[in-house]
Symmetry: C2
Subunit: 513 residues, 2 copies
């Protein structure tokens, strides 16, 4: 592992701290930032043990298995492993539920999310806790409209490099900047071993699109895909510990005709593969016809469905069309079926949507999918942002998250153009953390507003170091600031932009005196 992926919290006046559970003997990880006015703030942190001072990752060993004992104990007691949804419906507060209740209150002066509130949200299907029993390394987290907005970062071995260590490094790099889940979208060689290394070393839930590996198994020939090959792939990935699967079970034959008339057709890889398979075989989507079989498998591991939007719009012109909303209706029906089997569900959403059509997406999803969490890719509010599509999508993402979307899939500035490098991943993750955070403020999460308040107090007091440490990317904030004052090398009691005569905050304070 290379040096730059180390998590140097000390440089940010921060340290990993643990808060005890009340119901269960659990230790909830968070990051405490010490401020120069004597106060401190607890922040949500996804780095797991990698954030411990001096911790050095050895990818061959794997990290601590936080959930191992909980899982084993419950399975012994309850006659086999049950899903979080099953427990929630039984009225049982699991270790995972208490964990997320404490985690979600971070930053706030007082805890405001109770374990019972979490249990109830999971029981209703309004939130999920992705928690494959075979991925005990993952620290519990929750995805739901009543909780902090989460973000996902995509990696994959056709992306930044190809070695297994590279992929682990990419995964850790994503969580270093705040990714709440990571999707491994590998399509090339060594899919199995790469995923194994990622799972054993990453403390956040891992998602995949199993179709990609299934297609590799038939050498990329869509016509050779079968339910059996796909099912074998699911079992393999369940056993490894993948926490959620994107499954495009709502792409039905009848919608493909609508999608063909579009400006940009089908832009989901999984969706296009299935459309082609249906066209070749003149049969209905086998993920749809075998949906209950999939439920029976996933419930054994507590792998969650991320019901894929294979017909999401790929352009402003195609937004909110019949194909898109037709598929959404099917996803709503499938949600009910999954819930019948106690399998947790999130629903994937667009895509490219102009600002004035975002609200309709959220409202329809809520209604049609019975309040199951929404997980969107942006949406991008224009098609012409090439080179800046992390921004095009962050605008839509912030808006739809405010409306209730529970998780945002990041988009990098290389979207539509090429594959992201490390800088692009960092820029993309931080941009989406910002969009999610803006939504958390607008939704009224007390912990979110508290961080902004501390930041603004630091700003008005010219406490520069505190400003850096409270920002989402302390190293960049510090670097930009010191570019400016590198000649004097010292911090000032006025904005470096305005100089001493024109600093509004300094002038205002001089009035007070």
């Amino acid at each position: 592992m290379k040096k730059e992926i180390l998590f140097d919290f000390a440089a940010e006046s921060s340290k990993k701290v643990y808060k005890d559970g009340v119901i269960h003997p659990i230790k909830v990880a968070m990051k405490e930032v010490s401020l120069n006015n004597g106060e401190s703030i607890l922040l949500y942190d996804t780095t797991g043990i990698h954030g411990e001072q001096g911790y050095v990752c050895n990818p061959k060993e794997g990290i601590v298995k936080v959930r191992e004992q909980w899982v084993e104990k419950r399975a012994a007691r309850d006659g086999g492993y049950k899903t979080q949804l099953w427990y929630a419906r039984q009225g049982v507060i699991t270790e995972e539920m208490e964990y997320v209740s404490i985690r979600e209150s971070q930053g706030a002066k007082e805890s405001y999310i109770t374990p019972e509130f979490v249990r109830d949200a999971v029981a209703q299907g309004r939130a999920i806790i992705p928690a494959n029993r075979c991925h005990p390394e993952s620290e519990p987290m929750i995805i739901g409209r009543d909780f902090l907005v989460k973000i996902n970062a995509n990696i994959g071995n056709s992306a930044l490099g190809s070695s297994i260590d590279d992929e682990v490094e990419k995964s850790l790099w994503s969580i270093r900047w705040g990714a709440d889940t990571v999707m491994d979208l590998s399509t090339g060689l060594n899919i199995h071993a790469t995923r194994e290394a990622i799972l054993r070393n990453t403390p956040v839930p891992i998602g995949t699109v199993p179709m990609y590996q299934a297609l590799e198994k038939v050498n990329g020939k869509v016509e050779d895909l079968t339910w059996e090959v796909y099912r074998e792939t699911l079992v393999e990935q369940c056993e490894q510990g993948v926490d959620y699967f994107t499954i495009h079970a709502g792409v039905l034959k009848e919608f493909v005709a609508n999608a063909k008339a579009r400006v940009t057709g089908i832009v989901s890889r999984g969706g296009s593969i299935l459309a082609k398979w249906m066209s070749i075989n003149d049969k209905e989507n086998f993920l749809y016809t075998h949906f209950e079989d999939i439920c029976l498998l996933l419930k054994q591991y507590d792998v969650a469905f991320s019901l894929g939007d294979g017909l999401r719009p790929g352009s402003i012109a195609d937004a909110n069309d019949e194909a898109q909303f037709g598929e959404l209706k099917i996803l709503g029906e499938l949600t009910k079926i999954a819930w019948k089997h106690d399998v947790q569900v999130i629903i994937e959403g667009p895509g490219h949507v102009p600002m004035h059509k975002i609200k309709e997406n959220m409202e329809l999803q809520e209604k049609i999918c019975h309040n199951a969490p929404f997980y969107t890719l942006g949406p991008l509010v224009s098609d012409i942002g090439a080179g800046y599509d992390h921004i095009t999508s962050a605008i839509g993402a912030a808006m739809i998250a405010w409306q209730g979307t529970a998780m945002l899939c990041y988009v990098t500035r290389k979207e539509h153009l090429s594959l992201p490098n490390k800088d692009d991943v960092r820029e993309g993750v931080v941009t989406f953390k910002l969009a999610a955070h803006a939504a958390d403020i607008a939704k009224g999460h007390p912990g979110a507003a508290e961080r902004d308040l501390q930041m603004s107090k630091a700003r008005y007091s010219f406490r520069w170091t505190d400003q850096f440490n409270l920002s989402l990317d302390p190293s960049r904030a510090r670097e930009y600031h010191y570019e400016m004052i590198k000649d004097t090398g010292k911090e000032n009691d006025f904005c470096s932009m305005c100089g001493p005569n024109f600093c509004a905050m300094r002038i205002t304070q001089s009035i007070d005196k």
Copy 2:
């Protein structure tokens, strides 16, 4: 002038074209992009003569005076110079009005903005055409809620460098990326000569905050400021050709007490200077008490008011408070007074505002300020985005522009940290063009959606060059894409991200065949 500020439209398969007026003998500049499918699209373009192929700028000479004859002819005919608002109220369609009616229809298949529609909007005060008679180099443009959203870029000689040529270069660099107006916020040496060079070479309206120069005239001593010094500064800048002035006439004594109780006090430089002046002298704001004197001066040149929000919130905690809305109410009263004198008005707005409080800002501004155009700085939807505040503000900017804000002042990623360099300016301008464009789409401007449609068609046809040329930053889009395919050096009929087996658009098209 350095080489990189040349406008190499040829590399973008683009050229400057001119469309004739019907009412007046005018030639309206725009940029035509030729596409590889035989179509072409007309785009709004702010580069003026600098966009002409082979044009080399000589800052000492100045550029062509597009409006010189119109101004002189009208003054001779009408017994002195009159404002655009005066003409609009008389029912007269000026050359400027016809010009913008043609300009605003760019990109659309058919012209949809008539000269009469423009005249009516100006007559109602719903829109302004900044057009100082002493700045004939400026190509007419309109700022109003019924028109394309505009963006402003700030420059100033304490910023990127300090020579006069540097400042002209910064101004041209801003319009090269699409700035619709430029504000010269210089506070250092050579203010007069710098502004002169900018005005003589820039084909977009120029704004200033005259208080900065007035304060320089009294050596930075707020206590020495007087109405006389300020008035002298206004005359000087009117004569030079500044098109709009930020004037903080709404910062009244009664509001300053409210602002003192805030988390971040007063963050407007002009606002804090006036607050201090009032505190020292125990008198009401002299810009307020002399407001009609200012009107009588500005109407002689057709300089527009940009009524400054000296009490804009500088943090999420301070958004939408009494100080802010108290000042807004005064700005509404001042608007009526300015209109009485036929002086055009825009109203400046925040600042830092969480997403859920943006709409209230727009609705109150509309109501209180009688539909005068709103011109906002962002707003930033969080305080913790240090290093990424072009994005924090673009989110708020896109939302408020969709709600009706007419012009957006750009924010760079160096905001709160240091001064922007050329890369930061480019990133900031393009980011704000994107936010403005997203709002134009959401507001239903046909020309805006047309560009996205052409982009998406190019994307679905793998016409890479067309995608670059239709984007807001063709050189960056091209650069990112060629990073990826540099090994083969050729364009592909599949997305470079997914490879041939996993390109959704390619798979979809194979179904059609």
